[in-house]
Symmetry: C2
Subunit: 341 residues, 2 copies
């Protein structure tokens, strides 16, 4: 089968890969119908993370082609949305809502690689959620978004305890930050401040529900948030970048007792000064999003056309042109690239 | 009046200080009847923090001697317990329960110094809580504990979302850690693991409700907690030390999705690795305890003799012998020293 492999920084190729087979009775093989490129795929692309002949892709929707003997909730031909984290959805950690840290879990990235025609999904019952039927084509990008970027933005908003009456600041205007804006709107936030310096992303943020835009960042950005919140800071801050600067900006933009939901993957070396964090007296929660927790609800919202997160894809290419999709995102010509099969 | 002044590391003296006067109409002057020495008073004592002719003490109970014209909830002769943080208990941050970060707030430490015969308490209505009557003498140590160390341990337990069915680990066996054990018990925890290497503190921890003792610390301590929790980690971890080692121990002892309540004041230079924190997927919350939030409830529990936090004081001295009290705590001959006036 054809699949995307990254050979080294900047070197992405669509090549022949061995087709997956059922190994465990809890596996399913899915034929991927739509996949996409993640902001995190750009790190190895940019040489920030090691890469060596790596299978790429961890977001996916598709059709079940084959199931192992132990799979109970899925059948062949089901259209499914899966999380970027494999989970049995049955262990104590999963049952508490942290399927991204399932005791039997793993990441789809690298080991599986869903920028490909097919994928073997372990713990299929615990990882995949079938849609109510075969989706209308215009719903597919939104369902695909649920696989990671929407689920991640949603988790950030939940972790930041977004809700009615709250003022929310969103640090990061990438796809996850924009999904955080959408989630905040859906969860009833009163005011949503998107921090963005790019006109196209600002426009999308407003479309998703942002009420205010702050163009500055760092100390100036913090000052702007403080000014918009009577000097108190936001109730809820979504951090969707993961750098030292963005994390400090999030901490300093949050009022005492407020909540930060952080989903920007922090790189090695980023460190939070414990004394500043202590006196800031904020709540901090984040990590790899337990997308599986939210998938049933997100699929319903999309199916009922209450949200349209698929708008975050501003470039669509066939899988064969994945290399151009990476380049477009790297050069910020695209927010997020959808790949069709 | 007489009061404790620290002239430099290890140099504590009881000297004459100017008696306080009403300055603002929201002030009260209280005659302190009982005060104590805090673990945090040992930092300047040990030279970890700068000190220069500093008024000491921030825990106190006493009798109202004089009130400013604007004080409404207190009258002369009331017996009061006060927080170690001044708060108006009226601003938006206070109303959200974060009186330790009141927009008009300040710390009692250094500026006021309650290891003294009298103290001027700003925003008396928002800082002091009167007891139902003049307390029986045996209740006074417990009421004094509520002023900081109990309120702080209680906040840590609340921040760590302690509750029925939960397994709680407590890092730190100082007075605050021990109060965290008491709070966890009172809040209904199923299992309370106290981490302590000292027999006397272990005994007190058991008396306050600890069900298990772990004597190891660092990686070994983490392994012990993991072993006691099926390899998952504790639901709730109370961190009551504030060092790099203890904070990492707390993070690594918490299960994914679990909660850390940290109240050990982090020193400059302590830094949390953001990548480890991200993948740990824990909730982190802490800071200076908003004791005022909990004071009415804590006073009731003490008044009704449902809790006896005063047991944490294992040395009682007259104010005049404060220097010996500091020395006893510094040399770990005493957990916490009560000073009578």
């Amino acid at each position: 089968m054809r699949g995307v492999v990254m050979y080294g920084p900047g070197d992405v190729r669509v090549v022949d890969r061995e087709a997956p087979k059922i190994i465990e009775p809890t596996d399913a093989i899915i034929r991927i119908t739509t996949t996409c490129i993640c902001g995190s795929d750009l790190w190895p692309y940019r040489g920030v993370e090691p890469v060596d002949h790596t299978f790429m892709g961890h977001e996916y929707v598709g059709v079940v082609e084959e199931i192992g003997d132990a799979v109970q909730t899925l059948k062949v031909d089901d259209f499914v949305v899966g999380s970027f984290c494999i989970s049995d959805n049955a262990c104590e950690i999963c049952r508490a809502g942290y399927q991204s840290r399932c005791v039997r879990g793993s990441f789809v990235a690298a080991a599986i690689g869903t920028q490909a025609e097919r994928a073997r999904i372990p713990y299929a019952d615990g990882t995949l959620v079938p849609t109510p039927g075969r989706p209308a084509p215009e719903l597919v990008p939104s369902l695909l978004a649920a696989s990671d970027v929407l689920g991640t933005g949603w988790f950030a908003a939940v972790a930041a305890e977004v809700g009615p009456g709250k003022t929310v600041a969103v640090v990061g205007d990438g796809a996850v930050g924009l999904m955080g804006v959408l989630a905040a709107k859906q969860l009833g936030a009163e005011r949503i401040i998107a921090m963005s310096r790019h006109a196209d992303r600002q426009a999308l943020a407003r479309e998703f529900g942002a009420t205010d835009i702050v163009e500055t960042r760092g100390d100036e950005g913090v000052a702007a948030i403080q000014e918009l919140t009577n000097g108190l800071g936001a109730h809820s801050v979504i951090e969707a970048v993961g750098t030292q600067e963005s994390l400090m900006q999030a901490i300093r933009s949050t009022r005492p007792g407020g909540h930060i939901g952080y989903v920007g993957v922090a790189h090695e070396g980023v460190a939070l000064p414990a004394d500043e964090l202590f006196f800031a007296e904020v709540h901090l929660h984040g990590g790899p999003a337990p997308v599986r927790r939210f998938l049933p609800e997100l699929i319903d919202l999309i199916w009922d056309r209450k949200i349209d997160p698929g708008k975050v894809f501003d470039l669509t290419l066939p899988l064969a042109e994945a290399a151009e999709g990476y380049q477009a995102m790297d050069q910020r010509r695209a927010i997020k690239t959808l790949l069709t099969l």
